[in-house]
Symmetry: C2
Subunit: 219 residues, 2 copies
DNA sequence: CCGCATCCTCATGGATACTG
DNA sequence: CAGTATCCATGAGGATGCGG
């Protein structure tokens, strides 16, 4: 008798009645969570995704998007004739576990950037994750310019958020390298060192409201 | 000229300066997070891991354990002559992102167990994750018996925790199937239905302190 | 038994080329 | 622009062997 594949579902599921395992059945494959990260700030085109996720094979990206769509975490929009990939609300709920994973991985950034790829947009996920818990009764907005891109970090009574906003910028603007920005948000670098290596203009109190848990030390 | 593989590091790293990507470089491979889940309640033997993670190839388990050890999230202990695999403190810190992922995936359990594998121990990760936020000024302990195994869920002022404890059991004991237990913890099933399909003995207030956000409704 | 290593097969991922 | 098609390298799954 020849060998018979007796598995009725040869799909790559763990086959476990466990919420973590079933999550990983959906988002555990290579590249999937990074695609979600790309889409968290907003919808993107196929070619944008491909160029942003350096190294992903085009067929793989196409297949991932298809299964993510089938799993209800991504949907295709037709924006002015072209296809745009967007997260569904269910897909956007992945922000929480991804922030938690990012916080766990933040110490791994201490080795520096090296020749790794970097997209300033990624900070819109990382900064709120690292600043989680920081609040401000009166909203404060800080501009951060890194790697040629400027984004806004906002702290209000609900906590931190970040986004790339074109147009009007807050007058408080921090200019720094990606390493400095994440080191600052992770608490590994002090505000003074960050400003010294990069630059800052505007009201210093904004800077402290965002990055300071302790008040600024005057030496 | 023949083709040269010009990548100096063919390793499976995403090569991105991003905390999430660097986390996934370490825990993103298949089976890795499930091994962590197994080890969260306590150290285990190689063969225990292999039998609990049904379907993992033995060479793969060995290799994963090696790289996890190299990455500082697992270490080998010599407990009475035999090898025991345990999480390092850094590895145990993965509990938070794993709980977040488990909360995201909890709705995926609604389809029921089917013929999926199930280990009662897994509930010691799932129950605190789903009950996160529940506190009790005076500690309460509830026994849960499912699938032939009894464990303890404890709620105190710091929040929920769960563990398998041999020996003395709380007098409050809920008996239910895995589906009912997770449905109850996820809020998809009411206490009355759970008790009706399974069984409960002890002080009902314990049950409500654990699973109720709203007080019990008397109809 | 426990803790793997080896061998083999097949599914998946990666790189490149090509197409409506 | 948004993928498909193709080919090859790698990784996963399964069976078995093997020293302690």
């Amino acid at each position: 008798m020849e060998k018979v594949n007796q598995r009725s579902k040869p799909l790559k599921t763990y086959g476990q009645f466990c919420a973590l395992a079933r999550s990983l059945d959906i988002v555990g494959e290579r590249w999937t969570l990074l695609i979600v990260r790309e889409l968290l700030p907003g919808p993107m085109r196929y070619t944008e995704l491909k160029s942003s996720l350096d190294g992903i094979a085009t067929n793989l990206l196409a297949e991932r998007l298809r299964t993510m769509e089938a799993n209800g975490i991504v949907e295709r929009h037709l924006r002015d004739g072209a296809v745009a990939f967007a997260l569904t609300p269910r897909g956007a709920e992945l922000r929480e576990p991804m922030e938690a994973l990012g916080r766990w991985g933040a110490p791994l950034l201490a080795t520096g950037r090296g020749d790794d790829a970097f997209e300033p947009r990624w900070l819109t996920l990382a900064l709120p994750a690292l600043l989680r818990g920081t609040t401000s009764p009166t909203p404060v907005e800080l501009g951060i310019e890194t790697d040629g891109c400027t984004m806004v970090v906002r702290i209000d009574e609900r906590g931190p958020s970040a986004f790339v906003r074109s147009g009007d910028m807050p007058e408080a603007l921090l200019v720094a390298s990606p390493e400095i920005v994440v080191g600052l948000a992770a608490g590994a670098i002090g505000i003074e060192e960050a400003v010294a290596t990069g630059g800052f203009q505007g009201d210093p109190r904004v800077l402290h409201a965002v990055f300071d848990t302790a008040p600024p030390r005057d030496n």
